[in-house]
Symmetry: C2
Subunit: 374 residues, 2 copies
C-alpha cells in the first residue's frame, strides 16, 4: 500500500513524507550551500536548521542576498489563537528570534483571531481575541527587543491590513481559494476571505516603509498554500514576492506525525502542570527495545524515537544531543533515563518560559504594531 | 409576451413592475395607514412618500413604534462611490434628511469605496476612495447637523465594522451569497465578502451605543437582498432586525426605467454644465402629443411622461405639481413650456446644491464617524 498522507493548513493526516511533500508543493530543499551562506552571514546557524528540522524554502537566497548587500527585509510569522500553546508552537518562533538576533531585522507577527473564530465552531470572537493576547505573552517571553517585534491582532489592527486585503481579494477568485484551501460552497464567506489577510501581512512592511521590503516567513510547511498564492499575485500588486523557510511538524509524544489538539497526551502545553509533563514524557513512544536487558544488548533506535526528536528540538547543545544518540545506539542509555533527561530539559525550559511570560504581561503593549506605527 | 425584468443590486433591466417586484422580494407596500402614522408623528409626510415614490418597506412600523415610545433608532444609507453623482442619487438622501429633521435621529452613511473597487474593472482603490470624499460633499450639501450625520468610508473606517463583519461572515455560506447576489466561482473573494460590510453598518449603532438601536434604511429597492440577509441573521447575532423603506428607480430622461451610467444623456450629473442640463431636459421623452396642435386638442399623458416624473421628484410644491398635471391633461401646457419649467427648477436646485457643496469642503471632517466615535 502506498504511503498516503494529507497536509493542508487545516489538517495533517498519515505518515508525512517530507521530501515528497516538498516536491509536491514545489518548494526547494535547504542545501549545504544554503547553510554555508547562513553561517557566513550570521556567524553560526540555528540548530533547528542544522539538524534539518527546517528543511525547505522558497527564495531563501533572495533574502540572504539582501542581507549580504545591506538591503531591508523583515520576518513574518503568525498564529491562529484558539487555545493555549503547546511547546511545539514555539519552535518556529525560536527560529524567528535567531534571525532577529543575528540580523537585527524586524519581525511582524499576525495573531489571526478572526480566522480561528471563522473556522472553528463554538468560539466567540471575544475568546479568540483573548487567546491572541495570551499567545502574545508566550511569543514575547521568547525574548525580543520591543522595537523589533511587531504584534498584529487582526480584529484590532485591521486598519493596517484592510486596504492591502482588498487589493489581494480582487486578485483571487472564489474558484482559486476553493481549489487552494479545499473550500466548498458550504464554507462561510468570512473564512473564504480570510486568506487575503494572511497574505496581506507579507506585503505590509513594504506599505509601512514605502519601499520594497520582502519578508522571510519561518513557518510549518502546511502554510505553504497561503504564500504560494501571495507569490502568484505579489508582482501584479507591486509588492516583492515573500520568501519562506519551512519546518516539519512537531511530532506527537504518542507517535503521531503532528501534535494533536484532540489528544492532550500527545502534546505538552505551556500551561501543563509539572506532573502532567512528566507523565506525558514518561508515556511517550520511543525507539527502545521492549526490555532493559534487550536495550543493553542491542541498543535503541534514536532515529525512530519521539523522545530523541524532542531532545533535538529543545536541547541546544550539540554535544549533549550527540551523546544521547550514541549512548542510545550502543545500549548504554535506557529509555527511562533518556526520558528523565528530556523531562529535566523541558521542565527547565518551561520554568524559564513561564517566568519570562509572567514579566511579559507588563510590556505587551510595547510590542503591538499599533503602538509603533500610527 | 410577458413583461420580463431583472432587478439586482448590480443591474436593472426591462420595464419594472414595482408591485410585482415588491411581491417577489416579499416586502410590504406602504399603506394609507402608514402614511397617517407618519403624519401624526412628524406633523407632515415627505412628498416622496406621499407621491408614492417610496412605496414599499420592511418593518417600518417597528421604527414608528419606537419613535412613538421615545426609544432610540437610527437611519442608514450608503453609496458605492465610483463616479460623480447624478441628481437621482440624492433622492433617497433627501428622504433621509427629512427623517433627521423631523425626528432628530442620527444618520449613518456608508461610502463603500472597497466594493466599487472590487466589482468594477479599471478602478484603483485610490480612485474609489477619492470619489467617496467627492460624494460625501454632495451628501453634506443636502444639509445635516454635523452631530447627526456620520459618514463612514469603508477602507478608512474598517475598524468600526470588521468585528461585526466577521460575525456576519461566519453566518453566510458561499452558497448563500452566490444565490443571493448571483455570484459565481469567478467572482473575486473580496466582492464575495463585501456584503458582510453592507450588512454590518445595519448593526453598528447597536454596537456603538451598547443598546438596541434598530435602523431604518431608505434606499432603492434593488438593495433589498443585502437587508433580507441582514434580517435573516440579525437575531442570531443579538442585533435588532433592520427596517427598510424602498424607493423606485429614478427614470432615465431618455425613457429607461433607471438612469444609466452608460448613457450620459439619460441622467443629469451634479457636475453637468447648465447647457448640458438644458439639452438633456429638452431632449427628454414626454407623454405629449406629436404636435402642439394635437396637444392643445387632446391633451398630454403626464402619467407616462418622464418630465412629469421629474417634476414629482424635484418640485416640493404640491400646488405647482397639481397645476402641471391638470394643465397637461387639458392641453393647456405644451411639452416645451413644461420642460422649460423643469429646467428652471433643476437649474435652481443644482445652483443651490453646488453652492452648499462648495461650503461642505471646509467641514467634511466634522461629519466623519471617526471624528465623533473614537
Amino acid at each position: 500500500m502506498a504511503n498516503e498522507f494529507v497536509v493542508t493548513p487545516w489538517e495533517v493526516k498519515g505518515r508525512v513524507d517530507y521530501l515528497r511533500l516538498a516536491r509536491e508543493f514545489g518548494v526547494q530543499l535547504i542545501t549545504d550551500e544554503d547553510v554555508k551562506s547562513l553561517q557566513e552571514l550570521a556567524g553560526d546557524v540555528h540548530y533547528l536548521i542544522r539538524r534539518g528540522f527546517f528543511y525547505a524554502h522558497r527564495d531563501l537566497r533572495t533574502i540572504l542576498d539582501r542581507q549580504r548587500t545591506g538591503l531591508k527585509w523583515a520576518l513574518y510569522s503568525g498564529r491562529g489563537p484558539s487555545a493555549d500553546l503547546h511547546i511545539g508552537h514555539l519552535v518556529p518562533w525560536m527560529l524567528g528570534r535567531w534571525f532577529v538576533n543575528r540580523f537585527g531585522v524586524e519581525y511582524f507577527f499576525e495573531m489571526t483571531d478572526d480566522e480561528k473564530f471563522l473556522v472553528k465552531e463554538g468560539y466567540t470572537l471575544e475568546q479568540t481575541n483573548r487567546y491572541a493576547y495570551e499567545n502574545a505573552l508566550d511569543l514575547i517571553a521568547l525574548g525580543f527587543p520591543p522595537d523589533k517585534l511587531h504584534i498584529i491582532i487582526d480584529t484590532e489592527d485591521i486598519k493596517y491590513l484592510y486596504k492591502i486585503a482588498v487589493r489581494v481579494g480582487k486578485k483571487l477568485t472564489l474558484s482559486t481559494v476553493k481549489h487552494t484551501f479545499g473550500f466548498t460552497d458550504s464554507t462561510n464567506v468570512g473564512a473564504a476571505f480570510f486568506p487575503t489577510l494572511e497574505i496581506s501581512v507579507a506585503f505590509l512592511p513594504t506599505e509601512l516603509y514605502g519601499e520594497t521590503v520582502p519578508v522571510l516567513i519561518p513557518t510549518a510547511i502546511d502554510q505553504d498554500p497561503y504564500f504560494r498564492l501571495a507569490r502568484d499575485i505579489a508582482e501584479d500588486l507591486g509588492y516583492p514576492k515573500p520568501s519562506t523557510i519551512y519546518g516539519k511538524f512537531i511530532p506527537g509524544l504518542t507517535g503521531e506525525d503532528k501534535m494533536s489538539a484532540s489528544n492532550p497526551d500527545s502534546a505538552i502545553y505551556i500551561t501543563d502542570e509539572e506532573r502532567d509533563v512528566k507523565r506525558k514524557i514518561m508515556n511517550a513512544l520511543t525507539g527502545g527495545q521492549p526490555t532493559a536487558e534487550f536495550q543493553r544488548k542491542y541498543g535503541g533506535d534514536p532515529d525512530n524515537c519521539v523522545v530523541y526528536k524532542y531532545h533535538l528540538l529543545f536541547q541546544e547543545s550539540d554535544e549533549k544531543v550527540k551523546r544521547i544518540y550514541e549512548d542510545c545506539k550502543v545500549g548504554k542509555l535506557l529509555c527511562g533515563e533518556c526520558k528523565a533527561m528530556l523531562f529535566e530539559r523541558i521542565r527547565e525550559f518551561m520554568k524559564e518560559h513561564n517566568e519570562r511570560r509572567e514579566r511579559a504581561k507588563d510590556v505587551v503593549q510595547q510590542y503591538r504594531l499599533s503602538t509603533k506605527f500610527k
